[in-house]
Structure formats: C-alpha cells, structure tokens
C-alpha cells in the first residue's frame, strides 16, 4: 500500500465484489494505574513497549494512532501476534492491540483476569464515510473519541488524514473479494448478485455471525468510495506519513 516497489498492482483499478471490515482494539496493562479509557492521558511519559511485525505492515494504523496521541513507545519489531500477546502477559511489552477476533477470543480473557485494560478501538467507517464505534464494542471509544478525551478537541491535520486513509485500508479493506480491472460487466454483475444473495441467506447469517461479527458488508459499488478513499492520500498527509516513517522508524516509503 505504501507504494512498495515489489507490489505491482493498482488496487483502486480493480472491481470490488465484497468488502468485509475487521476492527482492532488497543489495550494496555493496569500496571500504570489505568482502569479504563478515561485514564488514557496517564500513559503520557510512561515507558511503553510495543511489539509487532514491522512499522510498515498492518500495524501502521495502530502505531500512527499512538503517535498522534503523543505516546512514544519503544518498538520491538519482527514479532507475530501470538508471541506478542505472550510477551504482553509477561509484562515485557505493555501496550498492545489485537484484531477483533483475536481480542474476543484471547485478550478479553486477560481483561477479565484484570491483566489488561482496553483503551480504544480503530472504529469503523459508516456508509456516510464517518468514523463510528466498533459494533462489537459499543462501550469503548474509537480513536477519534480517545483523541478528543485527551486533548479536548477533535483530531485534524495531515497526520490524522494519513491515519484515516491507512485505517480505512487496514480496517475496512481487511478482507475483500476483487475482480481484475476490465472484467466484463455481466461477469461482475453475476459475482455481485451472488454475494448479495449469500449475505441475505438466513442460513449464512446464522453461521457467519461469529466470523463477520456484525460488521457491515459492502457489496459492489458501495465499496468503491471506500477503496478510493483508502488508496488515495492527500499530498500533505502523504508527506506527513513519509516523514513519520523516516524519522521515527527509519523506514523509507516511496
């Protein structure tokens, strides 16, 4: 997505069939005297450690949100989700995130055991293009609200724009079915109708509830504006992102 030279396709030229979003939750340890999202500001200046795969991978939306909140964790790269969660349990890492299935499956047990405190979700974009709370955790603020509670104003500026595009890419385009550019219209229509019918099928709904977790599904043209948004950065936002990766993570994006 960050114009890596090895990736040779134009996502925004593809024909979307289905977009299936998947959210994520950021959580920390209660060790810093934090009992909920309202204590977020207490994390400022604490020595936080975050583990993940790499700065420019799907974790970028998480680390950019931390940056925008003014939190400066030490980053430990080259770790998969499983080892990260374990290291979090060992207290070697103290701020972490999980995708919604990961959170509901494993990390929520840490929360129940009093070993983790959820802070905010990545939210999702509704069909008007507005960031709203994750339907799986309606009681937890999304990143925009978290920012507001910390700074008393809504987030804005190139950094926030960059986060929004990145987040759309990672959250809203988390799973998708696309057909190549130039697919004949009847073929495209058949795919889209088929998917729409599957989504309407009551049997599918019964089975899929656990997997798509109540996220809105975007079929065909509904998905186009989201894809367009996620793949096009404003020039200032791109400049911010480029500078952020270079100065904070020594990663060069083109």
């Amino acid at each position: 997505m960050f114009s890596r030279s090895k990736v040779k396709f134009d996502l925004d030229k593809w024909e979307p069939v289905l977009l299936s979003p998947q959210g994520a939750v950021v959580y920390t340890t209660p060790a810093f005297g934090i009992s909920g999202p309202q204590d977020l500001a207490k994390l400022k200046g604490k020595s936080l450690v975050f583990g993940g795969q790499s700065a420019s991978s799907s974790e970028s939306r998480i680390i950019m949100s931390l940056e925008l909140l003014g939190l400066k964790p030490k980053y430990v790269w080259g770790m998969n989700r499983g080892p990260v969660r374990l290291a979090f349990e060992r207290n070697e890492l103290n701020i972490n995130y999980d995708s919604m299935p990961g959170y509901l499956g494993a990390a929520s047990n840490l929360v129940k055991a009093g070993k983790a405190v959820p802070l905010y979700t990545m939210g999702i974009t509704n069909n008007k293009g507005v960031l709203v709370r994750d339907p799986n955790m309606p009681n937890l603020p999304h990143f925009g609200e978290a920012y507001e509670s910390m700074y008393g104003k809504k987030p804005s500026g190139p950094g926030y724009d960059a986060w929004q595009s990145t987040n759309k890419m990672m959250t809203m385009l988390n799973k998708g079915i696309f057909l190549p550019a130039g697919t004949p219209k009847p073929v495209l229509k058949a795919w889209r109708t088929a998917i729409a019918n599957v989504l309407k099928d009551p049997d599918f709904e019964k089975e899929a509830g656990k997997i798509i977790e109540g996220y809105p599904q975007f079929v065909g043209e509904e998905a186009t504006p989201i894809v367009k948004d996620a793949t096009s950065f404003k020039p200032e936002a791109w400049a911010w992102l480029k500078n952020y990766f270079k100065s904070q993570h020594n990663v060069t994006i083109e």
Partner: protein, 656 residues
Amino acid sequence: MQADLLQALSTLLSVQHMLYLLGGTLLGLVVGILPGLGGIAALSVLLPFVYGGDPTLVLPMIIGLLSVTNTSDTFPAVLVGIPGTSSAQATILDGYPLAQRGEAARALGAAFSASLIGGLFGALMLTLAIQFARPLILAVGFGEQLMLVVLALTMVGMLTGASAIKGIVMCGMGLLFGSMGAAPATAEERLTFGLIYLEDGVPLVIVGLAMFAIPEMVEVLRKRTTISSIPELGAGTMQGFRETLKHKWLVLRSSVIGVVIGALPGLGGSVTNWVAYGHAMQTAKDRSMFGKGDIRGVIGPEASNNADNGGALIPTLMFGIPGSGSMALFLGALVLIGIEPGIGMMERHLDLTFIIIWSLAIANVLGAGICLFLAKPISRITLVPFALVAPFMIVIVYFAAFQATRAWEDLIALFVLGLFGMYMKRFGWSRPAFLIGFVLSLRLDASVYQSIQVYGSSFLERGGVQVMLVLIVISIFLAARMKGRREPPPAESAHTPANKTPQALFLGLLIAASLYVLYDAWQLSFLGKVFPVTVALITLALLVATVALFNRKRPDYVFFDSEHESSGDNRPVHSDLHFQGWVLALLAAIGLFGFILGLFAYITTFLRVIAGVRWYKALAGALGAVAVMSTFGHFLVLEYPTGLLQYLFELPWPLN
C-alpha cells in the same frame, strides 16, 4: 478432571475413532520412512481434506500422523544413513554404524522401545503441564529465549564434529545463511541478490535435503557397497529392547530434554535429538564407541524426539504458539476445524484436549508396535543394492524439494546446496551444526534485538538468564574437556595433513562467503546489520584461527578429507564429480522434458548404466515411478515442474 480424562478415552475407543487414528498413524509411519517427507509435508497434504471435519475424528488422525513420524524415521536413519525426517539426524551417528556392523535389528529394537517410552512420557507431561505450564512459559522472557538458543548452538557446534572450532564455524555459517531474506527488525533485504525467491530465505526442507539426503546418497553410491553384508539379522530386536530398559535413566532424562525443548517455541525436533545426543555423550563414562555404534547414541535421541511432540503441543494448545514447523501446521488445522487454541482448550474444549493426549499416547503404542513387528521385513531392504534404489530416491528428493515453494528455484537451490553439503561432508565440516544454525538464525537475530530493545544490557541481570549463562559455561567447559582428552589422531587417517589443497580451497570459500556477508550487510541500517555483522566477524575470527591450525605438520582433528580414508583397492571407481553429474542430470532431464518424462528418462538410464539391469527391467521400474507419481499428483492435486518441452508444445496429462 479425571472424569473428563476417562470420558475422552471412551470416546476415542469407538471403532470409527480408532480407524481415523490408525489411518493417521499409518500415514505418519510411511512419510517418516520416506526421506525428506516428514510430518510437515504430510500434514500440508492432509490439511485440505480436514476442513470442517468432526474434531473428534480429525484430531486423532492428525495427532496419529505427527506422533509416529519420529518413530519410523529411524528406519532410513539406521538402515541407509539418511534421516527420514530432520528429527532422526542424530540417530544416524550411531544407528548407521550399528547397521553397518549387521546389528540393525538391535538398533531398531532399542530405537522403537525408546521412542515408545519417550512418546508416552511426552503425553504424560502434556497432561501434567495443563495444570502448571502457564506460569512456567510466562517465566521464559526474551532474554531466556536468547540464552537458550546460544546454549543449543554451542552444544551442537562443539559436539557434532571431530573439531570443535570447525563445528562452531559451521554454526556461524548456518546463522549467516539463515539471515538471508528480510531482517526481522527492519524488513531490509539481506543476501537476496535481488532475487524474489530468496526474499524469505531458502526453505528449510531444501536445506535439510541438500545437507543430508544428497551427500549421503552420493557417498553410498560411490562406495558401491550394500549397507549390511550379513543377511541374517539375528534376534537383536529383543536385545535392543532390553538395552533400552537397562539405560532407563538415560531414556527418562532424554525424554525430559525432549519435552522441555519441544515446549519452547522455536526449538523443534530437529534440535532436540542433537541435544539429547550431546547429553547421552556427556553423561557416558566410556565415550570411545560414540559415533561408531554406541547403542546409547540411538536410545537418547529416539526417546527425546518422540517426547518432543508432547512438549511441543503445550505452547501450541495453550497459547496458540507453535513450537515447530509441524506444530504451525497443526495450528492451521485447528483453525480449519473451528477450534481456537488458547485458554479455551483448558475450559470449553477440555474434552478435545484430552482426546489429543490419548491419541498421542495410543499412536505412540501403535507406531512403535507396528515398527517393532515390521522391523525384520523392512530390515531386508539393506540387502538391496543401493544403485537400484538410488534413482527413485533422487526423484523423491527432487519431488519433496519442489513441494517447498513449487518453483524451479527450489530444484536449483537443492542442487547448489547439495554440492556444498557434499564438500562439507568430505572435509569434515559439521552439517548438523550448519542446519541448526540455519534453523535458529531468525530466532537468534530476533531475540538479540528484542532483548536489547526491551531491556538494554540489563537483560543479563535477569535470574533466568543467569541460570542459562551458567549452563552455557558448564556445557562449553565439559565439551572442551572432552575434546582435549582425546588421543591424537593416527598418522594414516583422514586427519593427515597430506594434500591439503582441496580442503584449504574449501576453507578459502568459507572465508570468502563470510567476507561477502560483511560486505552485503554493511549497507544496511544498524538494526539490520548488527546480527549478520557480529556473527560474520566471530565466524571470520574462528576461520582465521582455523587457517593458523592448518599450518600444523602433524595429524590433527582440524584436518579432514575423506578421500584419504580410502586407498589402493578400496578407492571408489568414480570421483565425486561423477555422481554430482548424476544428481545434476535429473535437474537437466526435468528442465528438458518436465517432471514426469524427465524422471522416466532418468530412472531408465540410471538403472541401465549404473545399476546394470536389463533394459526392459529398467523401463518397467521407470514406468512404475511414473505411474505412482502421476496418480499421486492427480489425487493430491500437486503441481510438477515443467520443462522446455512443455514450454514449446502442449502435452496431455500426465506429461503436462
């Protein structure tokens, strides 16, 4: 808890469940015997078929498969000196010499009984671990993981060859080779030469086949000897069984090693068996027979590599963290049948957890029983001239290598590394050390960086780290003392400093390779280069020391050239280049005609020219291989490499 345990057993004991378990076990036994095909390959073949299946049926089948590959892989290890899977490498050191003395039945009897006890011990420990593992695993932080890797490397490096310094150098070379691909900290590319194939490094299965299968096959082919000259194997099986019982404490200690190392993420069965071998050697009073056919060198690794499964399941089931490649696939299978590993396995799915444990125990009994029962008929393979088996085995090796990423580069990498492996073997550079270094490279790289990133240098102050440090020092001290106390090598042996040029050239190649790594890494950012540069510098220092030792005039363990071993009438008819050519020939045949036609031409020619069988028999043999490979490919939807012929013309199945 006990009620659940018994409930799971009664579920499993129904006919249908037992059939699935038996089916998995038989498949596991077969792939264990086939060199290069291990639990990983078999499980990846099986995965598409388990999707959405009943967990109480699928789990016994998968566990059955995984539990016994480490039992049956002993057959090729002992009988032909080729590991059936990477977990049987240490077994070769003493198992193969025993077979060459005609004591294969004894070695196998000891191996299978040790496997059985190790496997049952693993299942028992898994049961106990369910109550206690969580706090234990949580105590092993970044620093402890780092120390554990260093411990494994020093032990393996110092113990697996005649020369400790050459062993450590090979650990270093393995680490450097394993650093190929994206750096864990910065995702920068290292040593990829701009090739997409090398971006993830060379697949493990290829390194394993190249280091072990190819050099061994070429060597056996060159010597043109059958493995055992004694047709009657006697009643050694029971003797082997009794010897396992005699060394019961070694079996128990090795099983503990297997469970512990298996439970630690990153260190799988391919490490366990070497550590257990090192342990068996370190704790023995008389070590003179090790490497020449000491039964303890078979018992230790075999007990440990079966116990390994029980240990490896602990982090996999509890935290969803696979301890090895096959466990990673097992984890994938769990997801496919709709089970989320983790604390749920102790709560919601406790019944399935117990089914897994019982399957593990029963599969080990079944596997060892079948192997003991079949040990004699299978041992007869030793009487078949190797030249008859060799072309088929070379084909299987290429086949297995191609399943790694299904790219032509797999085959080329196999050949190039195979050549390297042959010269490592010839000049006495430890191949196990190279393989372990390779396997642990990413892990070591990541844990050095992670420990320092999280703790700075204060990670050395952690209690667990200090315990491990003491263990490392003790291990190095014991190994050094052991090496120092040896008799100097005899004047007329492979350790003689005569005609040093070939081995000096190979040494020069290693130095050049290390220098290239330094050059390549120099352009990276600090976090990307700190690991390869450090390892390359240490390796270079040791290589320079080796060069200094090379000036010695008297026989020394640092010298080794297996060409000096055979003299006069003993000399092989063909040079090693001759059989390198034969290994390359299959690559060329596939390149021209594609896999199926290529193997047909190759096997026919090989059987006629090398084995000297009649044309029609050679053709029949090759046709048989074509039939097996075609059916196999058709039903399992495998892809085979295509050649120039397929590129130019459209061909019907199975030739396409």
